[in-house]
Amino acid sequence: MKPPRFDYFAPQSSAEALAALAEEGGEAFILAGGQSLLPLLTMRLARPRLLIDIMRIEEWREIRLEGGAIRIGAGVRQAELESFPGLARHQPLLALALPFVGHPQTRSRGTVCGSIAFADPSAELPLALLALEGQVHLRSRQRARSLAAADFFTGTMASARAEDEVIEAVSFPVAGEGCGYAFREVTRRGGDFAIAAFAAFVDERSARLGVGGVADRPFLRFMPRPGTKDLDEALDAFAFDLEAREDLHASARYRRELVRRLGRLALEEAERCRA
C-alpha cells in the first residue's frame, strides 16, 4: 500500500496555490489534512501528478467570527476548531458534531474544509454545514464565489466545486437566541462513518432536521415541531424520500427506521435544549 509518484508543492501564498492548481488542470490535487486523500493514494485509487499542500498558507489558517458566522479557513484542522474558545456557545451544533468525526488522532490533521470538499455522504461536517445552512467559499485564480451548502453537495463524494477551485473557507452561522440543537448518530463502532446521522435545529418559528449517511448526500427538511401530531408522518415521508442506501453495514430499511426514530429523538432533544 504505497502511493504512486507525484510532485509536491507547498506554497506559502494562496496566489501560488491557485496558480498551480489552474496550470495543472485536473492533474493536481489539494492536500489538506490528508486523512481522506492519503488512503486513496496508498490504495492507488487516486493518481494525481501534483499535490498542492495548502497547510503552509498562513492566510487560510484562521477561524474568524464575522457577519454572524464562524468563518473557518481552508487550513484549519478539525482539532483546532474543537478547541476554539467558546465554540459551544457560538455554534453548539458544531461542537456536538465534531467529536464524531473520526478519532482525536485524525482530527489532529484533518481539516474542516477538507471534509466539506470530500463530501462523503456519511460525514458529519457536511451534514452540520447543511443543517445550519452555511456557506462554502470557493476561489480560483479567476474568480471567487460563495455557494449555499445545499447547492454545494451534489452526490456521493461529488460537489459543485470546479477543478480549479479551492474551498478557501466555509462559514457556519452562529447560534441565535432561543435556538436548540442536537446531534445524534449511529455507527457500527465509535469513530466510524455514520450509518445515519441527525442534526436537529429548532428555533421559535421552525424545526429542521438534517440527515446524513442515508442518501447519497446530506439532506435537510423543515419538520413539524416536536410534540405536534404531524411529526410522525413527516418523518415517515422523509424516511422514504431519502431513498436510503443499502450497504454492508446496514439495510435501507434500517436506515429508514433510524430516520423515523432517531430523527424524532434528535428533534425532541433540540427542543429541550431550546428551553
Partner: protein
C-alpha cells in the same frame, strides 16, 4: 486450592511478576520482523493479486514492469512452478496446490505475479505495469451451491468440490432417537472470520546455491509440522531449510500459521532472483489472502427426554475451507472430535463431516480453531431445547453436565476428559456472577418494555493437540496405509554458560504470551534464583534448536506442554547439579538445596557454594566431576504425553491432551430505537488448572473475549455472489475498539490436570469458543429469537425490532434545494 499450593511451594511461579518482555517493547525497541535489518542488496517483493474469484489466466505481460528502473525481476506462476513442488496436504484432494496461481485463479486476492525491486514503492509501481488477460469462469461462493452436481468445479482434477465426506457413529444413536420423547433440531451458519493480528505476515528469504539450501526468517508461528511441507515444496531435504523466527511477533492467534505458502513463494523468488528477498504483507493483502477461519453450516439434532436430558446427538457439518485444502486443513473440522458432546454426558452420536471448496480465501488456524464452529450450534441447541420444552435453559445445561464423580471421563468419540468439576464451576459462576441480580434486572427491564436478555454457554476447552487427530478424516484403512500419527512433542533446553548463568530455549515462538517470563519463573524457582537471572529464548532456529513437528505456539499448548517440558529439563539439570554439589559439600545429593543464589546442605547454610560457581564448574574443571557424572552443561527434554494415541479402528480419538472448562453468562440489552446491543454484564468462569501467571491468564481471557465479541457482533469476511471481497479494508472488516469491549468479570476454579507436568491446561482460546454463542443466546433471549445469525448486526434485527414496515403513499423525491425548502 491448587494455585495456592503452587504459590506456597514456589516463590515465583503463580505470581504476576512484571514481564521480562516488556521493557524493550515499551521503549520502542522491540525486534519485530520488519525491524531487523536486511542484507545489502535485498529486494523487496510486491504481489499482484487476482481481481477475479474464478478465471483462467490467458496471458501475463511483464515486459513493461521489468523495464522499470529499480525492478530486478517479475515472476509469474510458471517461474515459481519451475522451482517448486505442490504443497502437500492432508488429503490427496489437496490437489495441485501452489502458493501462486499457475493457470487459473481460484479466489480474489490469490497471488498471480511477484515484482522484485529495490524498494516496495517501486515494486508496487511494477505491479501497475503488469498486464494480465483473464478469462472469467463462473465462481461458486455458497458452500451448499458448491455441492450441487452442476456446480462449477474448482479443481478440474477432482470429481467434485466435495473433497471429503465421512460419517461416524458412536454408541447406538438410532435407538436413542427412536426412544426419545422429543427431537430438537437447529440449523446454523458460522461465519468466516479472522483474528487479524495487528502485525501482518513477513518473510525474508535467501537461497544458497552452494549448499542448495534456503535460509528463511519469518513470523511463522508453527505448527512446525509444516516445515516438511515447506521443504518438500522447495524441493530440498529438511536440513536444507533453515527456518528462523524474529525475537518479537506482533500477534498471531493462529493466523500466522498461514504465512507458510508465502514462505515457499518468497524463498523460490529469492532463488530465481539470486538475491535475498523481503516481503512484508500489507493490510489489504492480509484481509484478502492470508487465512481465516472456516465457515460452517451445521444441522444438529438432539434426542431429548421430557426433562431435557439429551440422549443422542446427530451432527451434520459442512465445512467451507475456501479455494484449496491447505495443510493442516481440514483440521478445523476434526480438532473438536473428542469433545463433540461438549461438557455433556451424551453417549450416542452420529456425525457427518463434509468438506467443500468454494472460491474464497483458503482457511487455516484461527483462535478457537474449530471450537466456535462447534459450540455455536451446540449451545444454541441447548437454549432451543429449553424453549421447546418450556424449561429453564440453565436447568437443561445442568441436567446434562458430566458429573464430578465421572472424571476422568471417556467421551463417546474417544476423548479423555482428564479432570474437572463442571457442576461446581457452574454453581460458583452463578453465585459469584450474581445471577439473581441479573434475573431481577431482566424482570424490571421487561416490565418497562425494554429488551433485556440473559444467555449461557458451557464449553470444554481442549488444549495441546494430538498430532494424530487430523488423520481422523481418513478411514482406518487409509490411516494404516499412510502411517499412524500421534503425540505432541514439546521441547525445552536448559543450558549453563561459563559464568554459571542459565539460558532456557523452547521451540515455542510466542506472539505476546509472555513465554519468556513464565519460563524464567519456573526455572528460577527450581534453582533458587531471580527470574531476571534466567535468560529465555523462545524464538526458534530450526538449524540450531531442538524442535519437532508439534513445535510452535498453537492449540494453547504453552502452559500445559512447553512450560512443563522446561520444568522437566530444569529439574533434570538440577538433579545433576545436586550430585556435583553433594560431592563438593560432602553430603548426600538429596540434602542439597537451592535458594537465593546459593547451593547449600540442608540445615547447614554455612556449608554452601554460590550457584554460579557450582553451575560453571563443569565448564572449567570437567575432570573434577564426581565419578560417573556426565557433564552437566545442558539438558534437553522432548516430552510427549502417552495419552495422545492415534485414532483407533472405531474412529475414537483423544484429539487433545487436556480439557479446561468454561461457563459464561451474558446479560445484555437491545436498544429499542437503534437495535444496538449493550452488554450489561459478562461473566466468564474458567477452570484451567493452576494459574502460572494470573495476570497473563487474565490477559488471555480478556483478549479471547474481545475476539469472541468481535465474532458475535462485527466480524465476517463477506463475499458477494461474484466472489468479490466486501471486507477488504479495516474500514469494512470491523474490529472492536475499546468502546465496544466491556471488561468481563473473570472467575476461576483450579482443578489441576493430572496429565501435565505443572497441572496447567490451556486458556488462550476458550472465550473465542464460548463468547460468540453466549452473546447470541442472550440476544435470542432478549428478542425472543429462534434463529440467530452472526455477526449480529443491529440492521439485521430490524424486522424483529420494528415489525413490518408500512408502505408509504407513492411520492417521488425532488432533489436539491426544493426538497430542502419543502
Amino acid at each position: 486450592m491448587e494455585a495456592k499450593k503452587v504459590e506456597d511451594k514456589s516463590p515465583w511461579l503463580g505470581r504476576s511478576i512484571g514481564r521480562l518482555e516488556d521493557k524493550a517493547l515499551l521503549l520502542g525497541r522491540g525486534r519485530f520482523i520488519d525491524d531487523l535489518g536486511a542484507p545489502p542488496g535485498t529486494l523487496e517483493a510486491a504481489i499482484l493479486r487476482s481481481p477475479h474469484a474464478h478465471a483462467r489466466i490467458d496471458r501475463i505481460e511483464t515486459a513493461r514492469a521489468r523495464a522499470l528502473p529499480g525492478v530486478t525481476a517479475v515472476l509469474t506462476g510458471k517461474d515459481i512452478e519451475a522451482l517448486t513442488a505442490p504443497l502437500l496436504g492432508v488429503l490427496k484432494a489437496a490437489a495441485h496446490s501452489f502458493p501462486i496461481a499457475i493457470d487459473r485463479v481460484l479466489y480474489v486476492g490469490e497471488p498471480v505475479a511477484i515484482a522484485l525491486a529495490t524498494d516496495r514503492y517501486i515494486a508496487e509501481d511494477a505491479l501497475d505495469l503488469i498486464e494480465v488477460v483473464y478469462e472469467a469462469l463462473p465462481p461458486v461462493i455458497d458452500p451448499r451451491a458448491a455441492l450441487l452436481a452442476d456446480a462449477p468445479l474448482l479443481h478440474p482434477g477432482l470429481a467434485s468440490n466435495l473433497v471429503s465426506d465421512r460419517s461416524f457413529r458412536y454408541g447406538d444413536p438410532e435407538s436413542a432417537f427412536a426412544q426419545a420423547a422429543f427431537r430438537v433440531a437447529i440449523d446454523t451458519r458460522y461465519p468466516r472470520n479472522a483474528a487479524t493480528p495487528i502485525e501482518t505476515y513477513g518473510v525474508l528469504a535467501d537461497y544458497d546455491p552452494g549448499a542448495d539450501a534456503y535460509d528463511v526468517l519469518s513470523n511463522f508461528q508453527g505448527p512446525f509440522s509444516l516445515h516438511p511441507v515447506i521443504a518438500k515444496a522447495l524441493k530440498v531435504p529438511g536440513n536444507r531449510l533453515r527456518l528462523r523466527s524474529p525475537p518479537d511477533c506482533g500477534g498471531s492467534f493462529g493466523v500466522k500459521e498461514g504465512v507458510f505458502p508465502y514462505i515457499v513463494l518468497i524463498a523460490a523468488a529469492a532463488r530465481a532472483a539470486g538475491r535475498t528477498v523481503k516481503w512484508i504483507e500489507d493490510r489489504l493483502e492480509h484481509l484478502a489472502a492470508s487465512s481465516c477461519a472456516t465457515g460452517r453450516l451445521t444441522h444438529l439434532e438432539a434426542a431429548v427426554t421430557g426433562e431435557g436430558r439429551i440422549l443422542a446427538l446427530d451432527w451434520d457439518q459442512i465445512e467451507d475451507v475456501g479455494a484449496t485444502l491447505r495443510a493442516p486443513e481440514p483440521a478445523t473440522l476434526y480438532r473438536m472430535h473428542a469433545n463433540m458432546t461438549g461438557a455433556y454426558d451424551i453417549r450416542h452420536l452420529k456425525i457427518r463431516n463434509r468438506v467443500v471448496l468454494t472460491n474464497k480465501m483458503p482457511s487455516g488456524l484461527n483462535r478457537g480453531f474449530g471450537g466456535p464452529q462447534v459450540y455455536f450450534p451446540l449451545e444454541r441447541l441447548m437454549q432451543r431445547i429449553a424453549r421447546k420444552l418450556g424449561l429453564d435453559p440453565l436447568a437443561v445445561i445442568r441436567r446434562n453436565l458430566i458429573a464430578k464423580e465421572a472424571f476422568p471421563y471417556r467421551t463417546a468419540t474417544g476423548g479423555f476428559l482428564d479432570s474437572g468439576d463442571y457442576q461446581g464451576a457452574v454453581a460458583a459462576a452463578l453465585e459469584e456472577g450474581g445471577i439473581e441480580e441479573l434475573y431481577r434486572r431482566r424482570e424490571e427491564a421487561r416490565a418497562e418494555g425494554r429488551l433485556y436478555g440473559i444467555g449461557f454457554a458451557a464449553v470444554v476447552e481442549p488444549s495441546v493437540s494430538n498430532m494424530g487427530y487430523i488423520t481422523t478424516v481418513l478411514t482406518a484403512e487409509e490411516r494404516r496405509r499412510a502411517g499412524q500419527k500421534s503425540g505432541a512433542q514439546a521441547t525445552a533446553t536448559v543450558a549453563i554458560d561459563p559464568l554459571g548463568a542459565l539460558t532456557v530455549k523452547v521451540a515455542s515462538v510466542p506472539q505476546g504470551q509472555g513465554h519468556r517470563t513464565v519460563l524464567s519463573q519456573i526455572v528460577a524457582d527450581i534453582f533458587g534464583l531471580e527470574p531476571e537471572a534466567v535468560s529465555v529464548r523462545a524464538d526458534l532456529d530450526t538449524a540450531k534448536d531442538g524442535w519437532s513437528i508439534a513445535s510452535g505456539n498453537y492449540s494453547s499448548r504453552f502452559a500445559p506442554a512447553v512450560a512443563g517440558a522446561a520444568f522437566l529439563a530444569a529439574s533434570r539439570l538440577r538433579a545433576r547439579l545436586q550430585r556435583i554439589a553433594a560431592s563438593q559439600l560432602n553430603v548426600a545429593a538429596d540434602e542439597i538445596v537451592f535458594a537465593e543464589g546459593r547451593v547449600s546442605a540442608r540445615g547447614n547454610p554455612e556449608n554452601a557454594l554460590s550457584f554460579s560457581r557450582l553451575a560453571a564448574s563443569p565448564h572449567w574443571a570437567p575432570q573434577s566431576l564426581p565419578q560417573g557424572e556426565e557433564s552437566a552443561l545442558s539438558e534437553t527434554v522432548f516430552w510427549t504425553p502417552p495419552q495422545l494415541a492415534p485414532p483407533n479402528d472405531k474412529d475414537e480419538i483423544n484429539s487433545s491432551l487436556c480439557y479446561g472448562f468454561i461457563f459464561d453468562i451474558c446479560a445484555l440489552e437491545v436498544d429499542r430505537v437503534t437495535g444496538e446491543l449493550r452488554i450489561d454484564r459478562y461473566v466468564s468462569m474458567h477452570d484451567c488448572g493452576p494459574l502460572l501467571h494470573p495476570a497473563m491468564v487474565a490477559g488471555q481471557v480478556n483478549g479471547g473475549f474481545a475476539h469472541g465479541l468481535g465474532a458475535a457482533l462485527f466480524e465476517e469476511q463477506v463475499y458477494d455472489g461474484e466472489g468479490n471481497l466486501l471486507t477488504g479494508t479495516f474500514a469494512d472488516y470491523l474490529i472492536p475498539t475499546v468502546k465496544e469491549v466491556p471488561a468481563p468479570m473473570v472467575l476461576h476454579r483450579h482443578t489441576p490436570s493430572p496429565l501435565t507436568p505443572l497441572g496447567a491446561k490451556g486458556v488462550g482460546e476458550g472465550n473465542a469458543m464460548s463468547t460468540p454463542v453466549t452473546i447470541a443466546n442472550a440476544a435470542a433471549d432478549a428478542l425472543g429469537l429462534d434463529e440467530v445469525t452472526l455477526p449480529l448486526q443491529p440492521s439485521t434485527l430490524a424486522p424483529r425490532l420494528y415489525g413490518p414496515e408500512r408502505r408509504r403513499k407513492e411520492k417521488t423525491l425532488a432533489r436539491g434545494r426544493d426538497a430542502v425548502r419543502e
